[in-house]
């Protein structure tokens, strides 16, 4: 319980620090937000009016306090580009990005962990080498190029097999779940291959270190085959570290999602952020960055809690019980 409270406190402090960094990056760094948003050639009166409208003429502490109190109320302000509330805009984008990342992560785990095991345990040296080469190739292909290859191979219209939508998200959104998921398969596969290759290398390396350890020997001495011991004992032992690696890959997935959403014309958070940056809607960018940062921190918290739940060594205090044999 104390651990949870301590982590929640750290989470809140980190969120506060990140909000300050994001706020300062857009306000304190050289360049006037109102001038940038209005356009560099706008007349001074328009810039002044925009500055007053956005509250940029107030003191920096006041601006920060206004922004934070708005966030606390769920009021993220309005987008300068679309005129929509930023909160609603972010949610409409997040319902595309988060399922995309979730599906991509699921595919990465499905690709990475089993292939990592195969590359270590396969009886055939050729199969081991093949899976090793796959991990190197998969991890070396940039998301943009990998996505293009998948479009050329699998998409309807231009692809060789023509079985999946090439681009876009259905107008009906999640009201048409079959088409919505289908539109996410190729982008998720692009992310999944990239991240799956990392997970595969990690799984192989972590299991490889354990393969000759006393823990695997004891499991075998109890009656498991080598492969059973590696899967049932080895994977369980590397699971806490694997969870941490998966948590870290979320950052990689978000970065990848920005590229992939633009490539597949998905109106998600990544492409929205690029659009808002291009349209100089810096107030929206500020809130979107803050939400992404909050999501990262929440994932970090979740990973820490999972890690602790999966590894009793972190909870168990050594030295209890009798002193000798």
């Amino acid at each position: 319980m104390r651990f949870l409270l301590r982590r929640l406190l750290l989470f809140a402090l980190a969120l506060l620090g990140l909000s300050l960094v994001i706020f300062a990056a857009l306000r304190v760094l050289p360049g006037d937000v109102a001038t940038i948003m209005a356009g560099l050639n706008s007349p001074p009166e328009r810039v002044a009016a925009l500055r007053a409208q956005l509250g940029l003429d107030r003191s920096l502490p006041r601006q920060y306090a206004d922004w934070m109190s708005g966030l606390a109320r769920g009021d993220f302000g309005r987008s300068m580009l679309t005129g929509q509330p930023i909160g609603a805009q972010v949610i409409s984008r997040a319902v595309i990005t988060f399922p995309l990342i979730g599906l991509g992560l699921g595919l990465a785990l499905l690709i990475g962990v089993p292939l990592g095991c195969v590359s270590l345990m396969a009886g055939s040296p050729r199969l081991r080498s093949l899976s090793h080469v796959l991990s190197i190739v998969g991890g070396s292909i940039p998301a943009l190029w990998g996505g293009l290859l998948l479009i050329l191979l699998l998409s309807r219209g231009v692809g060789l097999l023509g079985i999946l939508p090439a681009q876009g998200f259905p107008d009906l959104g999640w009201s048409d779940p079959a088409r919505a998921w289908a539109s996410l398969v190729l982008p998720a596969l692009t992310l999944g291959i990239l991240v799956g290759a990392s997970l595969m290398r990690y799984t192989r390396s972590a299991l490889g270190e354990l393969a000759d350890s006393g823990r695997i020997d004891l499991a075998r001495a109890c009656g498991m085959t080598r492969n059973e011991a590696l899967v049932r004992v080895g994977l369980r032992l590397v699971l806490p570290q694997l969870v941490s690696v998966v948590g870290l890959t979320f950052a990689e997935m978000i970065t990848g999602a920005m590229v992939v959403e633009n490539l597949f014309a998905l109106p998600g958070l990544g492409s929205g952020l690029v659009t808002d940056l291009g349209g100089r809607d810096l107030i929206a960018v500020q809130s979107e960055l803050f939400m992404l940062a909050a999501f990262f921190l929440a994932m970090g918290l979740l990973v820490d809690l999972l890690h602790r739940a999966l590894d009793p060594r972190l909870k168990a205090a050594p030295g209890s019980g009798e002193a000798g044999a």
Partner: protein, 286 residues
């Protein structure tokens, strides 16, 4: 014959790590295999258990109650391990699964080899823990919460819970202090004798071997160079290596009269010291 090894050769790449080794462990006997580091003891153990490293090749014969083990596939060997052959490794801290409680660790061979109800498993585990001298409250602890001696008792309980016919003990006391070593060996000997199992005890230390086994084989560079009753090997070693091992054990044996320190300065009474190998008073329970 419980275990019969004949003309065993183990090859790692182009190197023979075991060359024509042969030994026998009779039913209910406790037999030791002693040799310095690199003599091939561990490879013989791994060959008996069918756990040779990938790429290693073994030839010759290893018979377990008449059944040839060399050439058995991994599944068949896994079926023998944990049910008919129990194993105690040298460093329990590095071999016990750190995410399993003591009870879950000890019941693992039962789960793998027998279809028992949860209650039956619990009963057997509780009985086994009591037999190795662990209190019931330790059943829910993790290995990291136990002392080295307690961990080795858990490892012995795991090896013996299915009442195997043969116990292979691969330097089971190496990671322990000298006092705990004696307790663990005495316990292992008692448990093995109680169950009627055979013991194949591997060590590099005659001090330890003397307490555990009546008969021993001396291994050097992959070959058995001498064998016989352990007390005969200690009293009249014929081979230079055996003599060196006996001398090394003697050197490790602390004797207050050799230390040059007055008895008045002793922190603990004499029974805490290692017995002299050649002193009949220190011959353990053999």
């Amino acid at each position: 014959m419980s275990l019969h090894i004949d003309n065993l050769r183990v090859q790692l790449g182009d190197v023979f790590v075991v060359r024509s080794a042969g030994l026998e462990v009779g039913v209910g006997q406790r037999v030791g295999l002693i040799g310095p580091s690199g003599s091939g003891k561990s490879m013989i153990t791994k060959a008996v258990l069918g756990m040779l490293p990938p790429g290693a090749r073994a030839s010759g014969s290893i018979r377990f109650f008449g059944q040839e083990l060399l050439g058995l596939d991994e599944r068949a060997m896994a079926d023998l391990r944990g049910s008919y052959i129990g194993t105690v490794f040298q460093n329990p801290g590095a071999s016990l699964n750190p995410v399993l409680t003591v009870a879950r660790q000890v019941e693992l061979p039962l789960r793998l080899h027998y279809r028992l109800s949860r209650a039956e498993r619990r009963e057997r585990v509780a009985d086994m823990l009591a037999r190795v001298g662990l209190t019931a409250d330790l059943a829910g602890k993790y290995p990291g919460q136990l002392s080295g001696g307690q961990q080795q008792r858990v490892a012995m309980a795991t090896a013996l819970v299915t009442a195997p016919k043969l116990i292979v003990a691969d330097e089971p006391t190496t990671a322990l202090d000298s006092i705990t070593q004696r307790q663990i060996i005495d316990l292992l000997v008692r448990l093995v004798d109680d169950t009627g199992a055979s013991l194949f005890f591997i060590t590099h230390d005659f001090t330890v071997l003397e307490r555990a086994c009546r008969y021993s084989y001396v291994l050097d560079q992959g070959r058995v160079v001498e064998h016989g009753p352990t007390d005969r090997l200690l009293a009249a070693p014929r081979e230079p290596l055996t003599r060196r091992l006996v001398e090394a054990a003697d050197a490790l044996t602390l004797r207050a009269e050799d230390s040059g320190i007055s008895e008045d300065h002793r922190l603990r009474p004499e029974p805490f010291l290692q017995p002299s190998l050649h002193d009949p008073r220190g011959r353990g329970n053999e």
